[in-house]
Symmetry: C2
Subunit: 351 residues, 2 copies
């Protein structure tokens, strides 16, 4: 069914048929102005007739540039990483870059050097490190970074001077969630944290702690979950055991909030009447949970777009000697509170 190993058409063959040099064909391919219109037309026709396709690999070798971005990701089965990848593919398409995708099997420490070598051997023009900062999985970079010959943009990690970083302001999100509950009159506000090895989880928790402190309230009642709904179930149980008078809970993601909702249903705790609940992430489904979940929305798609934009900016500025050298910068996206049915004024303030 396939046309067997027949060699593909090359620029030389096109040139021969057209009776010109390969260089002239190359000029046509690259839309150079310095080709006679008649010649151009003729060559274009021949290209079309022959079904000629330029070999991008050869071009890359010759130009020493691939217009390819290496993307390192992890946990594609979760919505977060895949929404971000979605943004990356879209922006890359728009800017004319090809993506070379590499998914890590876990989040914890990896042989960063091997992965970088892999991408660099394939001559990527830039790298997007879209793996969340977990544990010390960023450590190896400290020594290697100066030796990486292409720009690299990091996603979702704490600020570090001199690096290109794009992340959601998780701390601000934690504050917003807490503030919303405070505004509703709640005082006993518990927190279901994500795994604290994760930078994002620590930031969200810190937002809760700080805002509580500012309201002169203790931030003591919290549990560490795993991000999963299952852990949400057990975390709410633990929270209510530790402090039965809790009237509100902020969960560090929507999955755990769903688990908490599940636990509440099973034990006759009414949400929001007995307990207000706020999640984080604004999963598409969370508006249809019962009750619909109040949550913090953040644009992970945009995160991916920004990362590509920054990477390409850095690549370009390094090619053009003319353009001012691109200064690495950190970009933090602001999340946004979405109020739905799972939170309402505290009982005592309603009466």
């Amino acid at each position: 069914m396939y046309s067997t190993n027949e060699r593909r058409i090359t620029i030389k063959q096109v040139a021969k048929v057209a009776g010109v040099s390969a260089q002239t064909v190359s000029r046509v391919l690259n839309n150079r102005p310095d080709v006679a219109t008649a010649t151009r037309q003729r060559i274009l026709k021949i290209i079309d007739d022959l079904g000629y396709q330029p070999n991008i690999v050869a071009r890359s070798l010759s130009q020493r540039r691939t217009y390819t971005l290496g993307v390192v990701t992890a946990g594609l089965k979760y919505t977060g990483p895949s929404r971000t990848l979605n943004g990356i593919t879209n922006k890359a398409e728009e800017l004319g870059y090809t993506l070379l995708l590499k998914e890590l099997l876990g989040f914890e420490a990896h042989d960063v050097n091997a992965i970088l070598d892999y991408l660099l051997a394939r001559q990527v023009d830039g790298i997007i490190w879209a793996v969340q900062e977990v544990g010390d999985n960023r450590q190896e970079f400290d020594t290697r970074l100066p030796a990486i010959p292409v720009p690299i943009v990091f996603l979702t990690m704490r600020k570090r001077p001199g690096l290109n970083i794009v992340a959601v302001d998780n701390y601000a999100g934690g504050r917003q969630a807490t503030e919303h509950l405070l505004n509703l009159g709640h005082r006993k506000i518990g927190h279901i944290a994500g795994p604290l090895a994760w930078w994002e989880a620590r930031e969200r928790k810190r937002g809760w702690e700080k805002r509580m402190a500012e309201a002169d309230l203790p931030a003591e009642n919290w549990v560490e979950g795993t991000w999963s709904s299952r852990s949400g179930v057990r975390s709410l149980k633990q929270l209510l055991t530790q402090a039965p008078d809790t009237t509100a809970v902020f969960a560090a993601n929507d999955q755990m909030a769903l688990g908490a909702l599940h636990y509440a249903h099973r034990h006759g705790t009414r949400v929001p009447e007995d307990l207000s609940l706020v999640g984080f992430d604004n999963l598409a489904e969370s508006a249809y949970y019962w009750p619909p979940l109040t949550t913090i929305d953040h644009d992970q798609f945009d995160l991916g777009c920004l990362a590509v934009r920054e990477a390409v900016k850095a690549i370009t500025s390094r090619q053009d000697i003319t353009s001012p050298s691109h200064q690495p910068q950190s970009i933090f996206i602001q999340p946004k509170l979405i109020v739905r049915g799972s939170s309402e004024p505290a009982a005592f303030s309603a009466t």
Copy 2:
């Protein structure tokens, strides 16, 4: 902060330092046996000292082989496609293939030729078309297919002789869901279908229809949804309006089932007491919906793995003249019923 445009080390420089020819270094790089052990050791050390990295682009050009798979996907923001991609990345890693990722902006018809040209220009060794069959978005292939010089594996499309296809047996899944409800004593079973432009949606619906017919029951009460939870809400409403005596509903995916659950809660329809509900997909969260959702599980990760395996098999068999030519085949994965709290025996059969 970066080492500026300094040229990377080449095989020639390594050769020069080692006092050998470039081919000898090449032999070491490719683990050829015909190099003296002493020479090999010396060269390896120099490679290490210099931090030399082979240029894979040059190698690809020279070998006329890239060990790269082009992956075309769509809808990465949905769990299905991203779980499949997850499987693709894992299997590709295992088999030593690099991934070139291309995401389409929508599911409907695209300029297939342009996308194929794009991938072929980049000299991919094979293609995985991981875009679901929607409307006539497969049509362009009919004419183009014979002219594609590399193997191509299609995901999630109807059987066609002579093509490599990997898909879930959605028809069987639809049957299983329906059969489960029939076994519970339900007779009035409605269906919330996915958008019927999708092959998957049609197959799931066909499974429901066929199984109903086999039980001598009419398969009349159905509504076409959009896959979204929002459409699930309105679809259940419509279903119950059309036939108020409906005691069970099979929704073509978990999101729509969640929407149906949402509608039921809001209107005092108790699930499963008044209405049994079965979904499709087994989203990680569906076990924590209230009530936990009975659904059809299918391994989309495995789907991706199989696609890569088939693609690589086809590529390899075409390289080795010795190996028997790989016959394109269709692989259909069997889904599995997961029983949870959203379905229970029909009221009249319980009494």
